[in-house]
């Protein structure tokens, strides 16, 4: 009986202590979590990636040769990448084809970035890709060339009074 009483008092006591601790929740649209680096990148010369968030892709038109390796890498995974004709003529891109990514299918594994040997594709910190239509999720090469503006500054801070997103 005394064991039961002390057990319940201990549980209540632990709950009361948490009134004084700081709130851990991230207030999402107002605060955004900060990530390391500038997004996931891959260095084909060493064969090792660079740590970062796997978010929306970024395509460099002046590096892309239209070799379709990203599309082939995606074939067995999500089939999100399609090669489409682009109007702008690049010297290195004879066929004028570049990847178009369907984010309704993409699983953000980043294997397309690993497959690109020309430093043309990398992933940025942008993860807010919601759209009102399925067509809105298909990003054309022109849309992928725009570097997204991200404002992320919240980090986990651990103090004596508990952890919080500051």
């Amino acid at each position: 009986m005394t064991n039961t009483a002390t057990g319940i008092i201990r549980a209540l006591n632990s709950g009361i202590k948490h009134i004084a601790t700081k709130r851990f929740t991230l207030r999402y649209p107002e605060e955004k979590l900060k990530f390391v680096g500038d997004g996931y990148q891959f260095d084909p010369s060493t064969g090792v990636g660079i740590a970062g968030l796997k978010g929306r892709h970024m395509l460099f038109h002046d590096h892309c040769t239209g070799c379709q390796l990203c599309s082939i890498a995606c074939e067995g995974v999500a089939e999100a990448i399609a090669m489409v004709k682009v109007p702008d003529q690049q010297q290195q891109n004879k066929k004028s084809i570049m990847p178009q990514i369907d984010y309704g299918k993409c699983v953000f594994c980043g294997l397309c970035v690993d497959a690109c040997p020309f430093y043309a594709l990398y992933m940025t910190n942008d993860y807010e890709l919601s759209s009102f239509s399925k067509e809105g999720l298909i990003y054309t090469p022109a849309q992928l060339a725009v570097k997204p503006y991200v404002e992320q500054d919240s980090e986990i801070i651990i103090t004596k009074w508990g952890a919080t997103h500051g």
Binding site: N3, T4, G7, I8, R10, A11, N13, S14, G15, F24, T25, L26, L33, F35, V36, G37, G39, Y40, T46, G47, V48, G49, I50, A51, G52, L53, K54, A73, E75, G76, V77, A78, V107, F108, C109, G110, L111, D114, A115, M123, I156, I158, A163
Partner: protein
């Protein structure tokens, strides 16, 4: 002509006392599966677990994809434990292709694997808490899990489906200044989970609900072939990290947690104790890890196996032994790939545990088996 009907659909002899009850698959307390229980008043007479509602054919799909594109698929059965789900596959492919992994990559893998074990166990603990009606135990693990998800996000760039392990090492090196951040958050995480004792594990209400329910004896646990925390809660000291060390586990001091009772309480406590052990392993690995060096061996674009060959590798996942059997015939795709998962092996104990229990004890026994329906169905 008689037609064999699946269990549950077949007409049963009407008995005035026995009632057949379907728990699931829509019921939130069952996960993606159905448990057919026959009850006499408040007592369970017989129980027939019926998995298979989320079968996705992962094993067959793997035969049509090459060794690299299989990676995002094979972690999908358990997204919360995705590094451990990939681990046996990656070890097996390395064996088939004859790749030697660098020392630093092995340590990074161990850290990722232990972080993932904690992430999975916290998710499981949150579900276990809410189905015992303890909503604080749902909120706390779901929140504290964020500390480790943040670490995995820093390492791999994804919150749950990391796709981080590849044959030949890991995809990318640790970010700069990671050791310090990891140590700080893991230490705080350990401090937090120790607080769960007062609210949950030493709580007399929880103890009265879970103690002496669904007792699995040591002999039965071995005979039924259960693994992981279910086996360790029945008094068998068996952990693959200790008994068959893979990667760098033999250089680390791994301590296993064993309880003798074999009831729901012991089965729910062993994973919690394992999480503290995981924090210990992470700290050891951070200390012993080589400070620099490559983490990935460069492979040819489409690696091939060397002729007819097969390999079986297993690791200790959050739910017990997780094995992967790969047969290669020298092509870019595996010829056969089979997974042996801990969830499915633990489910076999459910009919034995529930016989004679009260219906109200079903959630505490069912969830204490550390069962993950999606993994069991593959």
């Amino acid at each position: 002509m008689t037609v064999e009907l699946p269990p549950g659909l077949a007409l049963q002899k009407v008995d005035e006392r026995i009632m057949t009850l379907n728990v699931g698959p829509q019921h939130p307390g069952s996960g993606h599966m159905r448990i057919i229980v026959q009850i006499d008043g408040d007592y369970i007479v017989a129980c027939d677990p019926d998995p298979g509602y989320v079968h996705r054919g992962e094993e067959k799909m793997a035969e049509y994809r090459n060794y690299i594109t299989n990676i995002p698929h094979l972690e999908r059965p358990v997204i919360h434990d995705s590094c451990n789900a990939l681990y046996p596959y990656v070890l097996g492919v390395e064996d088939l292709l004859g790749i030697e992994v660098t020392e630093r990559a092995k340590y990074v893998r161990v850290i990722c694997s232990e972080l993932n074990r904690c992430i999975y166990t916290m998710y499981w603990l949150a579900i276990y808490g809410i189905f015992l009606g303890h909503s604080t135990m749902f909120m706390w693990p779901a929140g504290d899990r964020e500390l480790l998800i943040d670490l995995m996000e820093k390492i791999s760039g994804a919150r749950v489906t990391h796709s981080h392990f590849v044959p030949g090492g890991v995809r990318n090196d640790l970010p700069p200044n990671f050791e310090e951040v990891c140590l700080r958050q893991v230490n705080y995480f350990e401090k937090r989970i120790k607080e769960y004792a007062a609210v949950f594990y030493d709580n007399p209400i929880l103890i009265s609900r879970t103690q002496d329910t669904g007792v699995l004896s040591r002999e039965d646990a071995i005979r039924l072939g259960t693994t992981g925390s279910v086996l360790r809660a029945s008094g068998v000291d068996y952990d693959l990290r200790q008994k068959e060390p893979y990667d760098v586990y033999e250089e680390l001091d791994v301590h296993t947690n064993v309880m003798k009772e074999g009831d729901s309480y012991a089965r729910s406590k062993v994973p919690w104790l394992d999480m503290m052990e995981s924090c210990n392993i992470i700290r050891q690995a951070l200390q012993k890890m080589p400070k620099s060096g490559s983490v990935r061996v460069k492979l040819k674009p489409n690696p091939k196996g060397k002729g007819l060959d097969s390999v079986y590798k297993r690791v200790e996942s959050g739910r017990g032994s997780l094995g992967c059997y790969i047969v290669s015939d020298g092509k870019v795709e595996p010829y056969r790939l089979k997974l042996s998962v801990g969830s499915f092996r633990n489910l076999i104990a459910l009919p034995y545990l529930l016989k004679g229990e009260k219906l109200g004890n079903m959630p505490s026994v069912y969830w204490s088996l550390n069962y993950w329906p999606v993994e069991a169905d593959r």
